[in-house]
Symmetry: C2
Subunit: 627 residues, 2 copies
């Protein structure tokens, strides 16, 4: 087994694809990690805004959670419809592109791509941040830790999505089970103690109120809490990864994810109020996450507490994986429609779309290096992309039903109404997010989305132009062919150059052997032996008689005088096709190339970059270990 | 004028070479900076070792200086003879190679190269260190300052050696003149004040003696002082850069350099004793260079003092330039003898040997970055290379005279005797240097010399093998030529692929169009229209009828199935020459290449690296702006 096979897994045939398909058991961890892990930071994000209200703020949390869960259910039913309507994958890009046109489609795709890239960076940095707060010795190596985890995720995903699902299954289910158990325990305690349970480990005291309740504050708290919704999109985009019956299994997977998430959010919201757990100032000494305080209050600092903490760390860290499943899929769709280079459509040795995985890893790595792996700096950029994609997708679904309004009766209208509610709700949320976080970093996201939009459109324009320039669907034109003339630049008379000359003589009747006189020329044995060494054998073999030409070079250059000579030949024989034939010597190892000149490459590049029309340069390779 | 012409100067024709040649006026600054600047640190290096003797130590300095100047004169007369004997450049490499054999030659070349590389790093870091001690604000940017100066020197030298000489002329002559004036003033004061002059600015007090006088101490002081001799080699290596009469002008240049240097050394030695100036602890607070103390004592801190200091800074900093003249010359000699790649023999646009200049700059830059621009860490590595080269060169000269001992009479024996004295003296010094500095860093130099030695010998071995493998000085063998078979991989039927096919049909009677079925194939229009689009036109033009072949690909690969197909074709038609013809599309800008596939390059690489025998891949370029 080669090293490559060991690291990346054996190469999979295209026919093995079915075996790589997934069901809900693998789908929930592979596609739901991002959504589920949101429970760990969504409620806290809302509570952090409510800090200024003091103890009163915590009392509002259940209301916010109810609103968020309502939004979550709207999004769920909307995406259920999308999955049914687009069984071949119905991400925001497809839905917006199909219903609202190409421009809306690539806006959605750009939003989504930025969301995915940020999700990788935020997920990893949050996970590492959590680990680092337990092991402060790692603090100076924050960025390096993030990059190690990124490399690990990249590798796992290059091995293929199903194995990725297997790796992430245990932590995801452990997270759901332990958080669920803690919440159930909390609900039980609360019920038997009459709604006012006693905290086992007391949570942090709540600060004094410093601001009155206001609409803007409420909107900001809601917007922040909406980060709990990020990642819900994943399943609808990955429908083709499911085994048959695709639609049903994908819907069931989405249902399970949303169900778990909603239960966790509701439990956290209600119990925070019951136990009086609020946020603590992030980034300050004494900071403790809401989940940590809550589980401590319910169950004390025992085994359950540490299981919850450990699985939260892991899940946050691995939530990045959702992006690794989905970003390559979106990139592939864009490439198939000509918005990205072809390479994104190629499946790698393990049937994963390697190109997208690698680009995602590189971009997320750049973000991590740029922001030095600090989550706090990345968070304000987050959620803009996700809600942009939600809004585009649901607006697209409204159009989808509108176009079908005459087909069905009541269900179409109900569906359209639901998607319209979803579009308005997510659109409003998006507006609130942009407005409240603009100066904190949302502007960077908007800028990146605009940049991606421009990239996609210019790639598309280039491909369209190229296709038009090359298009010629008719018989090949062979009527006006002038003979091929071969130019063979030759410095040393040896086996390699003799091979080039032999090829030239076999493909052309008019061959010129050109000696470019650069001033450090070898002794002129070829000229003296020209007749015996070349002309006689060519005559004997019935081939054309080659000509020996000297080309002067005053500036010790090889390429420029040769190019001038070729141009001159083309002028003197209009319509002829000139090919240049030269040999390149290759040693056994790559570093041997440092010891040979690279005239062939330089010549090719020169003919391509600076000269019109391009001339074909034929390089006859000579391997030193060949004979 | 293009940017490139403005930065590097206009391109010079080979015939303009004479105009680039130099005389003593340009030769002293261009080749002597290294040697002359040694006066600034040689005596100080000896005094630093003598520090442990307290005030007594200074008294020994004139003796050491006399010994060093005697060694300098021995070296001078030896190199005078070398210049006369080797008018085409008689560096250590040539002399050792010619007289002691190739192995000795490349040992000398390796020593010399290491010396040159270290000289650049030491010179620049010493200069920057001096500047930084005046402007401490630059301290955190030490490495960056060094690299800026390195870049400047590289650029100046890429413009050509004569202009380099012009740039460095002013500081060199200013240094000699100002130091000379200060020393003359000091001698005058000493003489009129009866040998015990009064210091104008008192020098640092001398410490108490902590060690008795001992032989080992004396040897170490002598070895350290011998750093004053580094750089003397330069002229003998650069003889071909001089205008006619070459030998005389080169000897005169060497004489002027050695004369200046000896006078400065003697003056400094005698006046240090007279004024009681000793070294101060290097790298400690209160450190002041010996030259600075001495000039202060002689002339006070006036205009002369600051001129000496400023020109010393400049000269130290620019002494690196000697290496830029000489390292490329040595590399060129090695390349001409097949010990280094050919590229080192090519003259750049300004007739300088650009390859060597760039490699020197890169290696010295790496040293500067590695040692963070700190002179103190680099100094122990220094002088090993220089004295290694001296010893090899003079031993070679002894052999040179020995071989000619029957030719002349008395002069040959006298010459041989002098070179023998030189060889023994420099060899002993080398042994002392290695022994006394081994653990401090001399081992690194020895290791680097060994590494270079291995590099040179393996490059040479490879070139010899290559020449042998390719050698074939006889008539070209065209007797057993089987027909050329062309394979044209084709995916899309467009102008570019039609061009490839047209070339294939013109150079071969048996053409196969191959469609590699990777699973994402375009609609099969070509197969349906094959007869009308291809077969008919080929028949009409009187060309061979091509064949359409489908090659399955189960792993979404293009290259591997195609290679297998070509191999199969070769097996079925033994002796035939198979060429693969495919097109490559090129956009207007380099970044457009990111949007095209690179099958041609991948295929070429695959045929070269993994398959035997190599198959010729013909790439027909298609420029999008061509028609």
């Amino acid at each position: 087994m080669s090293l490559r096979a060991w690291v990346f897994g054996r190469r999979l045939a295209t026919a093995e694809e079915a075996a790589e398909e997934i069901g809900p058991r693998e789908g929930v961890p592979a596609l739901g990690l991002d959504a589920l892990s949101s429970a760990a930071y969504g409620p806290e994000a809302a509570l952090t805004v409510l800090l200024v209200l003091g103890a009163v703020g915590v009392g509002y949390l259940p209301t916010f959670i109810l609103a968020i869960v309502a939004l979550l259910l709207i999004v769920y039913f909307s995406y259920r419809q999308t999955i049914a309507a687009y069984p071949n994958g119905g991400g925001s890009y497809i839905v917006a592109h199909a219903n609202l046109g190409p421009t809306a489609g690539i806006v959605a795709a750009a939003s989504l791509s930025i969301d995915y890239i940020l999700n990788v960076a935020v997920g990893i940095s949050a996970g590492v941040g959590a680990v680092v707060s337990v092991f402060p010795v790692l603090q100076p190596h924050l960025t390096e830790c993030c990059l190690v985890i990124l490399a690990f995720l990249t590798l796992v995903n290059l091995r293929g999505i199903r194995e990725a699902g297997l790796v992430f299954m245990a932590p995801t289910y452990l997270f759901c089970a332990s958080v669920g158990l803690a919440l159930a325990l909390g609900v039980w305690h609360t019920l038997i103690q009459g709604g006012h349970p006693r905290a086992i480990t007391p949570s942090a005291p709540l600060p004094q109120a410093v601001e009155p309740v206001g609409l803007w504050l409420m909107l900001r708290a809601f917007a922040n809490g909406c980060t709990a919704l990020t990642g819900v999109e994943a399943v609808s985009n990955a429908v083709p990864a499911f085994r048959e019956p695709r639609t049903r299994l994908a819907q069931r997977t989405l249902g399970i994810i949303i169900g778990f998430l909603a239960l966790m959010l509701l439990g956290i919201g209600w119990l925070c109020k019951a136990y009086g757990v609020g946020a603590t100032e992030p980034g300050q000494p004494g900071y403790q996450s809401v989940l940590s305080q809550l589980v401590g209050a319910i169950a004390g600092r025992g085994v359950l507490y540490f299981v919850v903490q450990a699985s939260t760390f892991t899940v946050l860290c691995l939530s990045a994986n959702t992006s690794f499943s989905d970003f390559p899929r979106v990139s592939r769709l864009l490439a198939m429609d000509g918005y990205l280079p072809n390479v994104f459509t190629h499946r790698g040795r393990r049937l994963a779309f390697s190109g997208g995985i690698i680009v995602l890893a590189v971009l997320a790595g750049m973000l991590l290096i740029l922001f030095r792996g600090v989550t706090n700096s990345l968070i304000p950029l987050f959620a803009v992309g996700a809600f942009g994609a939600f809004t585009m997708s649901q607006a697209g679904m409204v159009k989808h039903w509108w176009d079908r309004r005459r087909e069905g009766g009541f269900p179409v209208r109900r569906s359209m109404a639901m998607n319209a509610v979803g579009a308005v709700a997510t659109g409003t949320t998006l507006a609130v997010i942009i407005a409240s976080k603009f100066t904190e970093g949302a502007w960077i996201s908007l800028l990146l989305i605009a940049a991606l939009f421009l990239l996609y459109s210019s790639v598309h324009r280039y491909y369209v132009q190229t296709r038009r320039a090359l298009e010629r669907s008719e018989a090949i034109d062979l009527s006006s062919l002038a003979p091929v003339r071969a130019v063979v630049p030759l410095k040393y008379w040896n086996k390699a150059s003799q091979r080039s000359l032999a090829l030239a003589l076999r493909i052309s009747k008019s061959v010129q052997v050109v000696q470019v006189m650069t001033g450090d020329d070898p002794p002129d044995r070829l000229r003296r032996n020209w007749h015996d060494w070349v002309v006689e054998p060519a005559r004997a073999a019935g081939l054309g008689e080659p000509e020996l030409v000297e080309v002067p070079s005053n500036y010790r250059q090889f390429v420029a005088p040769l190019v001038a000579h070729v141009r001159d030949l083309q002028r003197r024989h209009p319509g002829c096709e000139v090919v240049v034939i030269l040999s390149a010597i290759h040693g056994r190892h790559w570093y041997h190339q440092l010891l040979h000149n690279h005239r062939a490459e330089v010549l090719e590049a020169r003919f391509l970059l600076r000269e019109k029309p391009a001339v074909t340069v034929i390089v006859t390779p000579w391997r030193l270990d060949e004979d």
